[in-house]
């Protein structure tokens, strides 16, 4: 039995990889993840070592992506920075996904009740503020730092997550098989956990992937503004900010971390798009 199900999973994976968006997204994300995990071994130089003689040095064979305003190796800093960015993205999505699933499921299952109304009105209030602004306010209160940054962006992501989960739950709960589960005598808790959530998972996971990209972007933005990760820790947003003053004389200082941010966000977005197509049979058929 285990063999059969393992086999089925493999078949599913192969089908997924045939989708070019999913394949591309997975390659980009895997590369970044690998970079984060193996950062210690991949870094050619000490990312914190200041060497003023190499200040703003353009890319060379010794420093593949050049050196920044303090002569630190940009490639090494980008590699170590991936840990921060992906770590924050993961933390943000875990936080907002958990809260969003809990709130959204209750809200959707008891659609129209006072509970639903209360949750959705609070979410409406949160949605009034643009995500970055909300995170900025929260960071202003808590102060900068890795954990605070994660929490701030996470809280700012709860509202859209709750809405997506609620919508997915509402569309699933009207299905006949939910009624059939009820007719078998299942409790509300079991219906939610065993019937509704597993069937609502596809759009939720897709959205989670897209939100990873948004989280990377938010983290970089806030760090760029000086509210997130503090120097000298290497973070892509800070690196772009550092190179800003030298954009004319040494464009590489800002450009490379900027490119990496774009690649990461693009990777998550394309993966999310691909998953969306894959999980949506109507679109899948149309594209063959």
């Amino acid at each position: 039995m285990a063999m059969a199900s393992a086999n089925r999973n493999l078949v599913l994976l192969c089908k997924m990889l045939r989708n070019k968006s999913i394949l591309f997204g997975l390659i980009v994300i895997s590369a970044l993840a690998l970079m984060a995990v193996l950062a210690d071994r991949l870094m050619p130089h000490d990312p914190l070592k200041i060497d003023l003689e190499k200040r703003l040095q353009p890319p060379s064979s010794e420093h593949l992506l050049g050196a920044d305003s303090l002569g630190r190796d940009i490639l090494s800093r980008i590699i170590l920075g991936s840990r921060v960015s992906l770590g924050i993205a993961l933390g943000v999505v875990l936080l907002s996904l958990t809260v969003g699933i809990i709130l959204g499921t209750f809200s959707g299952y008891f659609m129209g009740s006072w509970l639903d109304e209360a949750v959705m009105r609070v979410m409406d209030i949160l949605m009034v503020f643009p995500g970055v602004l909300l995170a900025m306010v929260l960071l202003g209160v808590t102060g900068p730092g890795f954990l605070n940054l994660t929490i701030a962006i996470g809280v700012a992501s709860i509202a859209p997550f709750t809405r997506v989960v609620r919508g997915a739950v509402i569309s699933v709960k009207e299905n006949m098989y939910v009624e059939a589960a009820r007719a078998v005598g299942e409790s509300t808790q079991s219906i939610i956990l065993r019937t509704i959530l597993p069937n609502a998972l596809a759009p939720i996971l897709t959205y989670a992937t897209l939100r990873m990209g948004v989280a990377v972007l938010y983290a970089s933005t806030l760090s760029f503004l000086g509210l997130g990760i503090q120097p000298p820790n290497p973070e892509w947003g800070i690196m772009v900010s550092d190179g800003r003053e030298f954009l004319r004389v040494a464009p590489h200082v800002s450009t490379f971390p900027g490119l990496v941010i774009s690649m990461a966000v693009l990777g998550f977005n394309i993966l999310g798009d691909g998953l969306n197509d894959f999980f949506n049979p109507r679109v899948r058929e149309r594209r063959g």
Partner: protein, 321 residues
Amino acid sequence: MLLEISDLRLVFHTPQGIVHALNGVNLTLEKGKVLGIVGETGCGKSVTGLSIMRLVPCPPGRYVSGEVLFEGNDLLKLPITEIRDLRGREIAMIFQDPMTSLNPVLSAGDQVAEAMQLHQHIGRREAIMKAVELFENVKMPDSQEMTLRYPHQLSGGMQQRVMIAMALSCKPKLLIADEATSALDVTIQAQVLSLMRELKNKTGLTLLLITHDMGVVAEMCDDVAVMYAGSVVESGELSEIFNKPLHPYTRGLLDCIPKPHVKEEKLPTIGGSVIDLINLPSGCAFEPRCAESQDICRKEPPTEALVGRSHRVRCFLNSGN
């Protein structure tokens, strides 16, 4: 008497107004018998079935009066935890469209095992083993392999067999089949019906068959109840209803069955359409479509009259008074 429904009245509160879904339904079902409820779309036959399971969402639904006695207990008054315990164990239900009634993320075996795990407090492994047995009972080829399949990997007939296996898993006393064969093509329909009859004879199951197909009724049922606009207009033994239909609506329905030996240009129909359940007429609900309507039909609603041993009819014309 296993099931006794009396004067069941159900309304739905909607933004358009109050929908009178059930207007005094009376039904009795003896142990081991098969009762067929027939009627056209919107006549309240499905809602009656759902009421027995207490699956009608309240609100917007509200029971105005009546009781549903199952082995003497009024199901409408039982607390929800006891109803939940009854569902699947004592009363099971097969739904219309097997395609949408099976959970797409659970394998067929798991789905059948679920009810048994719930009500018989047995482990998953044991439940799956019993599911294989059940699949053999409902004549699934390759029953072992079938338990591993997911709903989308099964044909319509196979899906309906899974539904039946699921419904029978806890050996219920009453099985409600809500249009159980309507979504299947004719050959599969015949197979499923004969399977249901066989299982009924083997286990002494009581069946409540909800359908709009008079052919299915003729083939399967002991008793028939014809519903129109939320009430039973005529009920009785199968032969009585088919041979001596008294209500004009029943006659109309029977006339609509194509007869292979009579050559007809056009099938007879009942004119008009189902009445608006929000604005019920003050008289007989069928009066606007009835060819035999009289003055009295417009003035007051007819009451149910016993005209034979168990033959009841709700009509002024043919009730003998």
